[in-house]
Assembly symmetry: C2
Homo-oligomer: 108 residues x 2
DNA sequence: TAATAAAATTGTAATATTGCAATATCACGT
DNA sequence: ACGTGATATTGCAATATTACAATTTTATTA
């Protein structure tokens, strides 16, 4: 095998796993934090700040983008990233709901 | 490559990634939820409820256990799992701190 | 002690992920 | 048009993950 059997789980469960999976790599945590702390930073800034090669950072950015957590603004040849606050909030809500639900259930 | 360069990141970032990585697979989300909803369920219960083979469930249980999120009680030949509430709370705190920090930073 | 039952471990195949060098693309300035 | 700089894409190697069959371990019961 090697692949995840997503079809046997509910959409709700897959949504939780999709969001947390993106945050489940230190490079992506660092990227999200760096973008949030430095408005309008570009790929090169991240390469310098984090210490992974440019294609690697670009790849992680693409993963984060898939979940809608990033906005981009083209200014000349530069591409500036910012966090999509609405989507970050939605992500936080989904993850927090998981914790709340779990804590409530296991305290009954 | 194939391995994650953990050493280039801070402990704080690695801790966040470690916790979220565990929740980053639907089987593990389902396992955590099922255990929290059914106190003292065993491996076999999870196999039936989730629909993955016994070794697969056992493997995911081991991953969750590594983060300290599970307690086990041996009763005869059965092994009953419960959620470690303190650790779940710690996990929630770490993940929530990440969201709070990120939201605060990107609103400045 | 043998049969049984539950769960971990081992071994293995398939797929996914991580990381980077090389290259391509795209927009700007000259 | 040409060179430059920024980023995405491609291709590839190494490692990790996912899943399961077969086996082992452990405890119980007949």
């Amino acid at each position: 095998m090697g692949f995840t059997k997503k079809h046997i789980f509910t959409d709700q469960i897959n949504t939780i796993a999709n969001y947390t999976k993106v945050i489940g790599h230190p490079a992506r945590v660092a990227i999200i934090q760096h973008i949030s702390e430095n408005k309008n930073c570009n790929c090169n800034d991240l390469v310098k700040a984090i210490g992974l090669a440019q294609p690697t950072i670009s790849q992680h950015l693409a993963e984060i983008r898939k979940t809608g957590l990033l906005d981009q603004k083209v200014k000349g040849k530069n591409l500036y990233y910012t966090i999509n606050k609405d989507q970050l909030n939605e992500c936080r809500r989904v993850v927090n709901d998981f914790f709340v639900k779990t804590q409530v259930s296991c305290s009954k």
